[in-house]
Symmetry: D3
Subunit: 221 residues, 6 copies
């Protein structure tokens, strides 16, 4: 099985980190191809950034049309609908996958974002997927402070767990791949990384020969 993992941005270190996380999560027989969207900005912060990633992402899907499934390696799931229209195989987003895998593990999940400015967009993504009744909160870490990123993630996740009633945590940034295990140990509740979840969901869908419905929303093109 061949899975194309698409890094929407053009940051090389990010692509490598993601590729490694994807390969670690994949089953023995799965071939992970991780590529960066050509021409995309280095970081995705705004809706405009997401649009600027679109041409490169669509090019990757065209170039690797033979992949059995596709993973968008950014938890804001940019341009997911368009890729679903184009690709023959199923397409999943890292954000979507982490939320779906959170559902059977606890009553409610919280998403931890690395910037305050991305909280509302993630809230709207949760609503787009119709999962608002299962989401206890979307929270951002404190952006400044002397503490490490990991410490601030832990702080935000603890608040989600203790104040918002989160039973499961999903990481709201694909660049946190790898931290899930350590955070999980410290928190005592499941922590889900979008890349690992995305790869496993893509595998599970492709294994069953699943395909995007061409009736209704994803008419294809």
């Amino acid at each position: 099985m061949k899975i194309l993992v698409i890094n929407p941005n053009s940051d090389r270190a990010f692509t490598e980190l993601i590729g490694e996380a994807a390969r670690k999560a994949a089953s023995p027989g799965t071939d992970i191809l991780c590529e960066s969207a050509p021409g995309a900005p280095a970081f995705i912060e705004t809706s405009r950034d997401e649009l600027l990633c679109a041409p490169g992402m669509m090019e990757l899907v065209s170039r690797h049309g033979d992949a059995d499934a596709f993973v968008i390696a950014c938890t804001c799931d940019p341009n997911l609908d368009a890729l679903r229209e184009m690709a023959a195989g199923p397409v999943v987003g890292a954000g979507e996958s982490s939320m779906l895998f959170a559902l059977p593990l606890g009553a409610r999940f919280s998403v931890i974002q690395t910037t305050e400015g991305s909280v509302q967009a993630k809230r709207e993504l949760v609503r787009k997927y119709g999962l608002q009744d299962r989401c206890s909160s979307v929270r951002a870490i404190r952006e400044h402070g002397e503490e490490s990123l990991e410490e601030r993630l832990l702080e935000a996740a603890r608040l989600a767990r203790d104040c918002d009633g989160a039973e499961v945590i999903t990481l709201g940034c694909a660049g946190l791949a790898g931290l899930d295990t350590r955070l999980q140990k410290a928190l005592g509740i499941p922590v889900i990384d979008g890349i690992a979840a995305g790869v496993r969901l893509a595998e599970a869908l492709a294994a069953g020969g699943a395909f995007t419905s061409r009736r209704g929303k994803y008419k294809g093109s």
Copy 2:
């Protein structure tokens, strides 16, 4: 006051039709500038089409940055969030505007689409705006048949009124500008065209010096 009306597609006849409708709806002192997004596809049918319109739409906003307000002249409101991030003045979508103006005129509105394939996307747009509790239905006209477009619109709108409980109709395609008055007469309930609504909403917002909030979702760039 100067309002930029953006035709997301590259169809010239469409741009002219829209420009005319916009000017007809505008107040005496308003200067309407209606332009087509350079490089956009001729029609917008899919999510992918919407992405292909994005570069041209963003270019238009950059070029006419001095406009007091901006109207996206397509009722699927493509790339609205990104334009809001970029533009100094308020940005409204034709779809959004027609729904907002429907609210004070009746308890529930239905949207009439010209293709079955666009119904689900419009349903999701209604939900994105949080207006699902006020929307009686999204309905498509019969796509084939010997009847004229106007007759088929009337048929769908009647079903919305009589079966779904619609008290107001909004037209789900900007290319229907001008038909609203005739349909309204035939139906006996308010029918709202997105271009006219968009221009009037843009005027009303700009008159009060309104601006897009830079806190939260539309951080600006």
Copy 3:
């Protein structure tokens, strides 16, 4: 164009304040007629007060039946449904208008009330309009304290912005007309006054010849 601005209560100073705000917001060609409901109580605090305003409000609509549009100059929008049944032209509430104009300016709005006792009624108004998914909170100012009204409004609005995620503020009392600009400057996010919004929405609707649907809820009488 002639717009009747209805002060539901009988407080003269309030009527003058509102009339001034309405005239300031109106377009050059608009004729604002601002009147107080005869026989109404001096203040509106309870549901009972709203009912006591009804006869006078209905009398005003009958007396000025030739107005092109009607604005209820109280953000709790008392007796809006009954006036819509009676009036030939469109009728908007100050509360409703401020919420509708908040929608295109940010993802979520908060309403600031001047009394704790009016918070739940405003929450229900938001739900009545089906806008609960766009409303971050309804908050009251601290009722007592040495600070000025403006300072306490600012305090509550800051809490809405920083704790509730409000991207836009609407003023939950028509008597605050005029404070919007100063609060907006201090907060850095859009602040919407119901009177100005009501007048502009009424103008925009009347300009397009809009009318209340007589199908369903507003049967007319």
Copy 4:
């Protein structure tokens, strides 16, 4: 125990019918006082009619302030909030009561209205009470036809049961008191009359010394 049953309209025959139904439903020790709102219109069809009933209804509550509980004998529950503010004892509406009693008897209830024009108002009442997830539909009977009222009620209730999935029927007009038993027999599912439900709910609340909360919405006056 003394219960005041308030007929919001001024129709004498209606008052008698309601009084009889209330007495039939009441427990042995309950004293039913059924009065018509002085000065009210003969029928309630519009929001304006509801407002015209208000002064008389408030007068009745003032005059019989010693009642242990109050029932508004109209399933549109007019002016319920204001009466709750005024009365010392609990106040229930016939519409509200019939819906509350439907909840433990089946998964979803449908409301049957006697006029098409009252359907949307009843839908909004259901939403006001937050019961929309338990309501399968609000349906009106065919207004014209040679069949008796009872036959047309049966027809509408059957459609609610067989097409909308209603497991319980509530009668959407207080004037149908007495028909519940016959309809229930014909339909084979519970049918709830608002007057009987109102009296029993009022008794149950008053028996426990229940009172309207003065915190928040019903501040009292």
Copy 5:
């Protein structure tokens, strides 16, 4: 009238406490039979505990099939759906009844639980009944501390009232029967005990000859 009050657990002191509370709430002519489910665990804390109570609860319903109505004397309403299928007369849960009786007394109610671990299950019960829009919060008391149970209940209820906007409190544990009056006095807002509410709701339903609908969810067996 004969009402079977079912204590789902096997704790004798609990059965006595509940029986006493039920008799105190019942009308003069009502015969209360309060029994413990044979073979049930002593306490109900988990979903598994609820299942372990099921055989005994079903046995009680079979044994006392002639009861006019049934009350499940635990506010988590265990196995309510199955008992409704089996019993000829109406079946109500203590949790359900307390929520239904809260509705006419205030705009929103909060439920106070005695353990943090039961909060999410109660939240889901509120949603199962479709009452989430009327529920201000589900809160647990502090589980540890030197204060008495009553003091900690009061503390949690005050927070619900002052921070969450609760206008009515329902007690989230049947074992608190009797505390409602004292808490109510201290809080100044209605406090509802599930046992008393359950008995009164059962009486009111049985008085009208109500029965569980056999159409749809509760097919009977």
Copy 6:
């Protein structure tokens, strides 16, 4: 990896059918153990039946506590919460799994039930999982008729697709395992079988070392 597939009922043919479907869906390295709940009824039709399956299901989980994951092989997901409390590894329901796998394949899914009497329970299951906004309908096949089960399933699924806007179909009965491929071919949209989905979801969760959160709802016992 060892996965325990639990047939909640005691029908041997059913257990074999399910075991076969599970093995067909499993990855090469997965060991499927499929057992029937001892002492369970032969069929599950009512809530009472679900309770009668509970002791046997819990016994199976205790006996095979070393399994890496657990699948409840009935799309009504009976006793899922209790098994989650007990089992060390993740537990998924066939109904839940089929819905989760439907989400990335289309905008909305419909569930097809084999009996009218199970529709409302499935609707409530969808709501329990918070997926109501993604569910286009729950439909039953015609129970009687000369057509084969497959033909009647196809008929109901076509109505879901063409009238309700379903883009994906999930099979609402585990006994339909194996029909998914043929129905999918006939319908042209994805059709998901709960057993296959359950096994793949269990594998994906177990592969990542996922576990049920012990914070909040599933406290463990």
